[in-house]
């Protein structure tokens, strides 16, 4: 009887999870997604908890309460910190899978050796490797995104790095095969610990050579791993609900990774083993052109005279927390009958969809947010392209500079606009470490300074100057 209840609950939860993801296809229905997801989770948790095998309840209550205590503050982080929160939650997902896998293995080793069949042991090994590498890899990614002091932000590379990385993984998998073949030998427990250690190490090594511009892809890949580790846990426990929910998460991470890779014109292996940003430093060719600086007054005038303004936001907008000022600028311009659109590059920011969420937070209607492919044909009609803290995604070098690390990456055609205004914090090159010739184009004017401050000034200028006309 309880078995049937558990099965019905699992089917119900699976259906709710699928509906949940289905409702994400439109912002209008998206909030149903959360209701469906929470209901599915509640059904699954209660059905499991009331199984007769569950005899100790104290620790369960304790762990759940602790989860709420840590989870609630984590859900209240500023939206600019969402990438690191996401990375951290991948880490937690990986940790849970790794620990349950470890528990199941030693349970089998000490009490039920018969349960360590080849299939189940393979699943345990897969769960533990995926779980622990996701754990440390995501922690490293979260650390890099949070700009923790002792984790280097820039990609760290050394000769033979890829050989070392792949070697560590190969040894871990080979030891896994040994454990599958001899699951209950006297030394199997030690080998198992070695696998855990190697997986932990591999996660760290995997992220060390990754730079900020690759974070959207890497977060998506880690998302996929976290899902797959849940699938492996499902195989271990013989639980189909875990397998389906994990597969949904895994496929979501996979699709996002593919989209991110395509948006950078790179392959998975190139992202993971390519060490973006340190490989080639393009040598400056030809004469060095100087940029032209514009005053806030001049920029405001340019904007006022435009009829179509395309704003191209990048990570710099997130860092400066400038999205609310951007909203004020949007209000000032639309008030004058100027059309304002936001051109969103798929990899702008540090995770998929990062810019959309920041702009939505500032109440910018999502009908004004336009994908790269849709905005590019309109760029020649654009009077002013306003680049806010974006760099590589508007670098024309991506079209032709064969030696450049961003060669072939689709970009937003800011350079085709009649005038370009670029707000930039410093005169240094972007994350990819390459010069951006957009900034020295004849029709480009630079505004140097913190994005929030500069846009604040622009808004003030427009608001004050508006009365004079």
């Amino acid at each position: 009887m309880t078995y049937a209840v558990a099965q019905v609950a699992a089917i119900l939860a699976t259906a709710l999870f699928i509906f949940s993801l289905y409702w994400m296809n439109d912002p209008k229905t998206a909030r149903h997604a959360v209701v469906a997801g929470v209901s599915g989770m509640l059904v699954a948790v209660l059905a499991t908890w009331f199984q007769p095998e569950i005899v100790h309840h104290g620790w369960i209550v304790l762990a759940i309460v602790a989860g709420f205590i840590v989870g609630i503050p984590l859900s209240l982080v500023p939206l600019t910190a969402v990438p690191q929160r996401t990375a951290l939650s991948h880490a937690f997902g990986g940790l849970a899978a790794g620990l349950v896998g470890t528990a199941e293995y030693f349970l089998g080793l000490t009490e039920h050796p018969a349960q360590l069949t080849a299939f189940r042991t393979s699943a345990i090994v897969a769960e533990v490797i995926l779980g622990f590498l996701t754990f440390t890899g995501s922690l490293m990614a979260a650390g890099k995104l949070q700009e923790v002091k002792w984790i280097p932000q820039r990609p760290v590379t050394y000769p033979g790095q890829n050989v070392v990385n792949i070697g560590v993984l190969v040894i871990a998998v080979a030891l896994g095969v040994v454990v599958v073949v001899h699951p209950t030998a006297a030394w199997s427990g030690q080998v198992f610990y070695a696998i855990v250690g190697l997986a932990v190490l591999f996660g760290v090594l995997l992220i060390i050579p990754i730079g900020g511009a690759d974070m959207p892809t890497v977060i998506s890949i880690l998302n996929s791993y976290a899902g797959l580790s849940a699938v492996a846990m499902g195989f271990v426990l013989g639980n189909k609900l875990l397998v389906t929910a994990g597969a949904l998460d895994g496929s979501s991470g996979l699709i996002l990774s593919i989209i991110m890779c395509r948006a950078m014109n790179r392959s998975f292996t190139n992202v993971l083993f390519g060490a973006f940003g340190t490989v080639q430093k393009t040598v400056a060719t030809g004469e060095q052109k100087a940029w032209k600086q514009e005053t806030v007054e001049g920029a405001a005038q340019l904007l006022e005279q435009a009829s179509l303004v395309v704003v191209i936001p990048g990570y710099g907008m997130a860092v400066a927390q400038a999205q609310h000022r951007v909203r004020e600028l949007y209000d000032q311009l639309t008030k004058r009958g100027i059309t304002v659109k936001f051109a969103i590059h798929p990899v702008a920011g540090r995770m998929p969809g990062h810019m959309n969420v920041l702009l939505a937070e500032a109440n910018i209607p999502y009908s004004a947010l336009v994908e790269m492919d849709e905005i590019n044909p309109d760029m020649p009609q654009c009077d002013v392209a306003l680049v806010i803290g974006a760099n590589d995604v508007v670098n024309p070098a991506a079209r032709y500079a064969k030696g450049s690390p961003i060669y072939g990456m689709p970009i937003i055609d800011a350079d085709k606009a009649k005038t370009v205004l670029a707000i930039k914090r410093s005169k240094n090159p972007g994350f990819a470490g390459i010069d951006n010739e957009l900034y020295v184009q004849d029709n480009t004017w630079m505004l140097f300074g913190d994005a929030k401050a500069v846009i604040g000034e622009l808004v003030k200028q427009l608001a004050g100057g508006g009365g004079l006309h």
Binding site: A13, F17, S20, L21, M24, N25, P27, A30, A33, V34, G37, A44, V45, T48, W49, Q51, E53, I54, W59, I60, A63, I64, G67, F68, V70, G71, I72, L74, S75, V82, S89, F92, G93, L95, A96, A103, E104, L107, R120, N223, A226, G227, V231, N239, A245, L248, D249, G250, S251, G253, I255, L256, M351, P352, G353, N356, V357, A360, N363, Y366
Partner: protein, 92 residues
């Protein structure tokens, strides 16, 4: 053994459903999508409860309790932050 193959079967089908459904997700919502799938994959909580609450040695149950804490954190923060972000898109 038969049961294992049925699990693989379920996995393959679920992946196809996942690919089909996720492909239609609005591009505006990729960030909340990631936090939502994250919360959903914290269904690992089910396995953690079984390990924590079963009649097992203490060391095993400690591992389960830590895993349960980690999954629960993901469930709570994942769903809450997803809702927070979606609210911003909804109100327009």
């Amino acid at each position: 053994m038969n049961d294992y193959w049925s699990m693989v079967f379920v996995f393959v089908l679920a992946t196809f459903i996942g690919l089909g459904v996720i492909r239609r997700v609005s591009r505006l919502l990729y960030t909340p999508l990631m936090s939502l799938t994250n919360a959903i994959s914290a269904i690992a909580v089910v396995g953690s409860i079984a390990v924590t609450g079963g009649e097992y040695p203490k060391a095993i149950r400690v591992l389960g309790a830590i895993a349960l804490f980690a999954s629960m954190t993901n469930i709570v923060s994942g769903f809450l932050i997803t809702d927070r972000m979606l609210k911003m898109f909804k109100k327009q």
